[in-house]
Symmetry: C2
Subunit: 366 residues, 2 copies
């Protein structure tokens, strides 16, 4: 029996070898540079894949919601960091989890710091998130007033401990000048470290995003690296140059339900509820919702001629097929689709099937 | 205790009154025109909301996958139609479900018809899906060869019964000339009915899409209407003119985690994993991932000045706020977000919270 025999409907496959190679490569890179790798587990959201990561020296992880933290508690992580501006409506849930698990949160304003300082019943660390140009979230890097107010408030509590500065330069995803953005981000963290390390000698700086951590080879005096997507990679990362398509570790198996030979189109069961709706648009405006790979007993392989999902709706996917694919495909076949954004696809699917036919867990619920 | 007290993290709210009014309005419209309403339940995917629908005379529903059908089996539906080109890898699952539930499927090619004709162990109906210009799926309206081959194959089986023709003119979502598209679709179905009704006197024609069924007032001799989204509506439908914003029956409650007064931006916990990534883009290229409503004890209300989600990532949402909102909002508040595409949002969230604090079911798993 091959893992393919388990599949009758859209199923997210994981290649354990590729996943392990991705984790190992990033762990070795961090080690070589003397940095600690604290991966963002919002991509994998899995106990089992966490166990693989531990074999490469990973001891701490990051998540993006308290529900994800709750799912990963009690799995032997030295610390779980919730890298999202803390939501004060979840303070009692945080207290509950912090009884048995070392946790840290992210703070970006004094209101949140005050709430935590007065309401925490168990020790929780915090990072101040810094915005050095991305503009999504974080305290502006030169807003020392806010930074110091948050630090001052935290000192009124024996439960809330300042751990350092966290920076997610998410604009490396969109900008051509990645080197420049990285340089700017590193300098921002370095400046803050120099300014505050006398007062907080243990403060750590953490920077996290896959394009940067995959491509750069100079991290300056940043202490910790926090990329997430590298565990699986995806077509967006391949386009950004973070990986090759051969490094992508997950793929959606989809059943072929119709073939339109004249239009060179293949209809598959696989749409927005499976892949999410992330899309790459080329210079001519053509949309790409995922690329076709051939599935076989031992996994999948990149096709010599490119075929891709040109459109998706809730459950339907329409593949623009190459000549060789359209001439060989049959109704009832399974094809593989490499995702545009693996974090979102994994979150949609909620489970992985390994190539030896085992189900691998993923957090459920939002 | 208000329903708001139940909420600490992103939660999908449902207003039962609005939902019932939407169902009632469409049921009355169908009745007035002498048509049967067979709603597409991929939007609600719920037992409980199905029970509401039954009160307005709804007896049959449509779904878009066999898993969704499995979830809705045994709930007293006279028939559940799986409106997706049948996936022959799921034949044994279909046989299993068809033991206890009247089901129908969609067929678009002879290969699938042959498989079902030879492998069905229980009676199953089928519609031939017709493509009259949308181009996503279905047999071309003038491809009588394929249509008749499918009919011929079905006659070799005493389990597979031809029920009629199904047409989803999904291009009404994108095209300005909805009337013309509708006219074309109706004429296509009328032609097929005239051509084949001597041979199949009971054959029914079904047309389904919310923009058409909501706006049109002339359905010709089509027998059944199959819209889905109208149960909840959403901002996409409001933009298309199918509804007003007041008719939207679901809204995502999101906690405010940071406020950037100078930029007039509010950061909320609510992103792509909650809302999906459907987006409306205006003539100036501004993106809209959802619009803000005020939440109160009895539900929500449209704000006089518009505020909207200008960007989302996996968990983050950034609201571009009006002056009045930015001056009144507090960290820790809850805001409501009307979704762009309610089917996708409901599928992401997997449950609804009613305004009296009860959880309402939604199918889980893909």
């Amino acid at each position: 029996m091959s893992y393919l025999d388990h599949i009758s409907s859209p199923t997210l496959l994981i290649d354990e070898k590729i996943t392990r190679a991705n984790i190992k490569r990033m762990a070795e890179k961090a080690k070589k540079h003397g940095k600690e790798l604290v991966p963002h587990w919002k991509t994998a959201q899995s106990h089992e894949i966490g166990n693989w990561a531990k074999e490469y020296g990973i001891k701490q992880i990051t998540v993006s919601s308290i529900k994800m933290a709750a799912y990963l508690c009690g799995q032997g992580w030295e610390n779980i960091h919730i890298a999202f501006p803390f939501n004060i409506r979840e303070t009692s849930k945080l207290n509950e989890l912090a009884k048995d698990q070392s946790l840290s949160v992210q703070i970006v304003n004094p209101v949140t710091a005050k709430t935590l300082a007065s309401k925490l019943t168990n020790p929780v660390g915090f990072f101040i998130e810094i915005d050095a140009g991305y503009g999504r979230t974080g305290v502006n890097v030169s807003d020392f007033g806010t930074i110091e107010e948050i630090m001052r408030i935290s000192k009124t509590s024996d439960k809330l401990t300042f751990k350092g500065f966290y920076l997610h330069p998410g604009h490396t995803y969109y900008m051509p000048n990645k080197d420049e953005i990285y340089d700017q981000s590193r300098k921002a963290l370095q400046m803050l470290k120099l300014k505050y390390q006398t007062e907080f000698p243990k403060l750590a700086t953490r920077i996290g995003d896959t394009p940067g951590c995959a491509v750069m080879d100079e991290f300056g005096d940043v202490d910790q690296l926090g990329p997430g997507n590298f565990v699986f990679f995806d077509l967006m990362q391949a386009e950004l140059g973070s990986c090759s398509k051969e490094d992508i570790a997950v793929c959606l198996a989809v059943p072929v339900v119709d073939i339109q030979k004249e239009r060179k189109e293949i209809l598959v069961h696989g749409g927005g509820v499976h892949l999410a709706k992330d899309v790459l648009v080329d210079a001519q405006g053509n949309k790409n919702f995922g690329e076709v790979v051939a599935l076989h007993e031992n996994g999948w392989s990149i096709l010599p001629e490119r075929s891709y999902l040109k459109s998706i709706s809730q459950e339907h996917g329409v593949i623009k097929a190459s000549d060789s694919l359209i001439n060989s495909v049959q109704i009832g076949d399974l094809l593989g689709i490499l995702p545009i954004h693996s974090c979102m696809t994994a979150d949609c699917m909620g489970a992985y099937l390994s190539l030896d036919g085992k189900w691998i867990d993923h957090a459920e619920g939002k």
